[in-house]
Symmetry: C2
């Protein structure tokens, strides 16, 4: 096996070394002691109380109308190249000279600076419906700055990040949004809020990062009660760390990046890194039953969360201690995972901690075809513990990631061209068929070494060719900046979104083929302009199958109702997913977007049980967000 | 580090090799193919339909009055030595010459052949209360041999294996037992049974292996309805195996040993091996939220079970497919785990499969003290993936296992004496303080090698001394034969039982000390004869803590109400466990034995949620077994 794209730069290597040294230092500080020493050092109950996180600076303010931080966006610059504005990400400030021609070639869509569909954001926001008695009661318990009826804020709290919702706020309208946004600062305030809502027949909708892609925050149009969005983001602290027992209590409103920061200062991670980790919150992860990219090492959210605090109209679910493992009847915690705001407000959770890994390394491998890539994943998964993250992108996404290469890397480009020659001529890889797998290894030195050896050995058996750490690293870095592209292209007459499923191994290939064919057929039937983009990647491995992500977009210039057509097509894709043996959702949840498909995947008795459980927790439907069709 | 007890015998080594070869052969047969080949070989849907298990032969009949197979029991033989009668286990047919003197020394109890408390089994069994209309309906759907009112069978179906229950059937009485035992043979019959019970107001209690130790099968004394025990053991098949996606559908009544047999024929295991694996059933494991000794490698039951079929009065919970992982709302499956018969009848489950391990090896290490042993476990758990099973027994149990050595191993004894000298003189281990850790390694060759190296490296850092594979193997083999000892010693005026908890790492040592001290204090207050036996072992490791088992027994000759006193003392121990930071149960469940402690570990809202969930599934309390105080 040869190293296709060379080793990372010296600077990269030095940076990695420094991070490694810091991590090692932290680990020694925390872990190099006996149990007793560490417990004693952490005080009487063995717990460390971390400092409150630094208040989020203005420079980290989030956009209300598009994804992400305000300082970052894609645009077509004056030279006609796509550029990521800002300085936050590795890609920031760089021109991507290959992107415009590639998009024109693949989708038939010109990305031109002066040819845009300008958003009409903000739409008109309905006036708030207030509940005077409730408001009076609130004013006794909350400071004025904890209550807001600001129209832009109310609008933002009434949607997530589905394509349909983002289209609506830019080019359409939203009929119903929360009437009031409340920002509780502790659990006690949440309890008072829920009690007040119950007394005054107010509808509550918990709000975390607002990043869902299932219309989970969409307010029911016909809700006559006052709707209050309970914004949990001021409850963003790690309240304690128990270094000996590897646990922490984290408030539900903490976004992933703040949790990581707070824990890293003490040498730990909870290991949960969904692609939205910058903005999505612990409470949202629990409510959605989320999955992180490094779940092979740290587990999914249900593996990480040891206990949940949930405030419901029927009282507070909580435990005095989170035990390692129990058998004490059906754990009410389990009703909370995946509850999507239907039964109460998650105020915090006890989570597992892992020491920061001694080593973090990236890797990548290219394969001649998607089939070979999937066969590699299968054998890798069953050869022992796979690396923390393993992703396989299909040929179109492989091409896309090449098209995202910054223009300043002239030297690399040359090298890449020579390598391309090697790959295509010597190895016989077809550039229109080859695929790439990116890898993150985390662990101690020997563990990572063993995994690397095994990965590349299994890859070789499937005609895989090592493609270097730098390409792997780049793939993961792109995750965060690429999230900004949806809003950018929407302005350039391209509408698109991703959706996921989980599927048993035996059905992976047919499912991917069927969904792609179905989407292309549906597009053809509708005579859409340009050429549709439909691509997939495998993002999670299990003994029994995988998670597959699809990316679908099309050029909508001249199309009357692009968002509706997109939704029709996503539904067709979902129908095809279910027919092909895939699940309704791997980790995004149901919300309202996928509600109509539920009867196809659950028995009527199962659905009825969920409805009855809801009534048990919340007989008056205070939590009236109506996700999964529950509470309707 | 030196090998303390030498290597296993040549015969043992040869046996291990043969098993290894067979396993390797099976693995090649199943796994040496591509996905497509394996799926094609398994038929259209990729599934293998295994043969029905061979009907259980008469020679494998189980006792009704004591634990286990009828062919096996301990007795004091004519030479005054304890002997395990029968030929089933490694220990079978062997004299244990050290045991009688050791028990006399440690507990002050003479084990004499002619000095026994003879059981008065069977007690009088209440006459069945029949429900004529229900019986009529049943006769239409069930064959005569599927219905029994036999008194001994009804008695057996009305209890599990708590000390109190076993005492009651031998020396007391049971007020209420099932009125009828029904043996369904397929899911359809279960559905009809539940419908008939609902129509005729009959109470149903599901029955699996009858091995619970929580009074989970005890019938409520004041239940006026006809009580039907639904014995699931005729539903004991593996209905299909999906070798590619590593799943199987197993009927709920299959006991562990039959599941293992059926899966092993196709090169697989589900990896769940509780100590009761010979008799306990899949349905029981799910209902109890069970844990297997090899959970480090295969997970606990919640990790292994992908889907559950549950027949409730409100309909059938079932899924068309078990997906690798989902986010589709609160999974109703989760209400089933730990439900202890309260909400319906589990008829089967889709479980994960693992290929039989390439290598299985045992190991053992001795440490100078329990403290050192626990510190070793902590560092081992956090050094990487621990071996499939790791157990640490305290000094008393270490002594006990030495006392269980058969007398025929004269050569070993001599060797052992020399080694004892070495350990105590050279290494300075105190025979009254040293403890032992036994290990099972499973995996492929390199994985096992890595784990062995790591285990012994970490052990060395805690003054551990390698004690050989044979001692490890023996420790695990003893698990199954030792289960017979409770009934044996009860006849010799010794009453005892085990109970478990889970506890965070920081509290392991204090909890163990506190519980031992408390039990000794309680015994002293009661002026019991002899000397109480209280001992513990750590049986499961987690990142956040461990599972600890306690073993408690005392000499009851001359004591009026030994069973009640035992129960008082176990309750005192449980109180001390909770005070010391332990959980109410790690994997045995609540049943009725631990019900009164529930309010100390769950918030009132949590308990109320469980009661409401029960009503949602079963509003008329058809499943009226009333475990966890639910349905009362």
């Amino acid at each position: 096996m040869i190293d296709l794209f060379g080793t990372p730069s010296l600077i990269g290597a030095l940076a990695a070394l420094t991070v490694g040294a810091v991590i090692a230092l932290r680990r020694r500080h925390v872990n190099g002691r006996t149990l007793e020493q560490a417990a004693a050092a952490a005080g009487g109950n063995g717990r460390i109380v971390p400092d409150a996180p630094v208040p989020i600076p203005d420079s980290d303010a989030e956009s209300l109308d598009v994804w992400g931080f305000r300082d970052t966006r894609f645009e077509v610059n004056e030279r006609g190249h796509v550029e990521l504005v800002g300085a936050r990400y590795e890609l920031s400030g760089q021109e991507l000279p290959s992107l415009v021609p590639w998009v024109l070639d693949v989708m038939g869509a010109p990305l031109k600076r002066d040819e845009t569909n300008r958003p009409a954001y903000p739409p008109e926001v309905p006036a708030p419906r207030s509940n005077a008695a409730f408001d009076d009661e609130l004013r006794g318990s909350f400071k004025p700055d904890q209550l807001s009826t600001d129209a832009a804020l109310r609008l933002r709290h009434g949607h997530g990040h589905t394509q349909e919702e983002m289209w609506a706020i830019k080019h359409g309208s939203i009929d119903r949004v929360p009437d009031l946004v409340v920002y509780p600062e502790d659990e006690e305030q949440v309890v008072r809020l829920v009690a007040a809502a119950a007394r005054h027949a107010v509808c509550l909708i918990p709000y975390g990062g607002g990043t869902n892609v299932t219309e989970a925050l969409r307010c029911p149009k016909d809700e006559q009660r006052t709707i209050v969005s309970v914004d949990m983001t001021r409850m963003n602290r790690v309240l304690w760390i128990d270094p000996v027992n590897r646990q922490a209590f984290v408030q539900a409103g903490a976004p992933g990046r703040l949790i990581m920061e707070q824990l890293e200062q003490h040498g730990f991670t909870m290991g949960h890194e969904p692609d939205s980790v910058e903005f999505s919150t612990l409470g949202g992860w629990v409510a959605t039953n989320a999955s992180g990219m490094k779940k092979n090492r740290y587990g999914n959210i249900e593996d990480i969360v040891l206990d949940v605090h949930l405030v419901t109209p029927a009282g507070k679910l909580e435990r005095a201690t989170a035990f390692p493992r129990e058998s004490v009847g059906a754990d009410p915690r389990l009703a909370v995972l995946g509850s999507e705001g239907n039964i109460g407000i998650i105020t915090g959770a006890v989570v597992k901690l892992f020491p920061l890994p001694e080593v973090q390394r990236y890797g990548s491998v290219v394969f001649p075809s998607f089939e070979e890539g999937v066969a590699f994943l299968y054998d890798l998964m069953h050869s022992g513990r796979p690396p923390a993250s393993v992703r396989l992108v299909d040929n179109l996404q492989f091409q896309f990631s090449m098209a995202l290469k910054p223009g300043s890397t002239g030297l690399h480009q040359l090298k890449s061209r020579a390598q391309k020659w090697f790959v295509t001529r010597i190895k016989g890889f077809d550039p229109q068929k080859m695929v790439a797998c990116t890898l993150v290894f985390e662990g101690d030195r020997s563990e990572v070494r063993e995994q690397e050896e095994r990965v590349y050995r299994v890859a070789r058996a499937h005609n895989g060719m090592k493609a270097g750490a730098e390409n792997g690293r780049r793939g993961y870095q792109l995750t965060f900046s690429i999230a900004y592209i949806r809003d950018f292209i929407m302005n350039h007459y391209l509408i698109g979104e991703s959706f996921e499923t989980s599927v048993p191994w035996s059905h992976v290939l047919t499912l991917c083929e069927n969904v792609k064919r179905r989407v292309l057929d549906e597009c053809a039937q509708r005579n859409l302009p340009g050429k549709p983009f439909i691509s997939c990647r495998v993002t999670q491995l299990y003994e029994t199958g995988v998670c597959v992500y699809f990316y679908f977009g099309y050029y909508y210039k001249g199309v009357d109702n692009p968002s509706e057509i997109y939704a029709e097509m996503e539904n067709a894709a979902r129908d095809e997913i279910l027919r092909s043996g895939g699940s309704l959702s791997h980790h995004h949840g149901i919300g309202k977007l996928r509600e109509s498909f539920l009867p196809r995947v659950m028995s009527e008795a199962s659905l009825e049980m969920n409805r009855r459980t809801k009534r048990a927790f919340d007989p008056d439907n205070i939590f009236g967000v109506r996700n999964q069709g529950i509470g309707s």
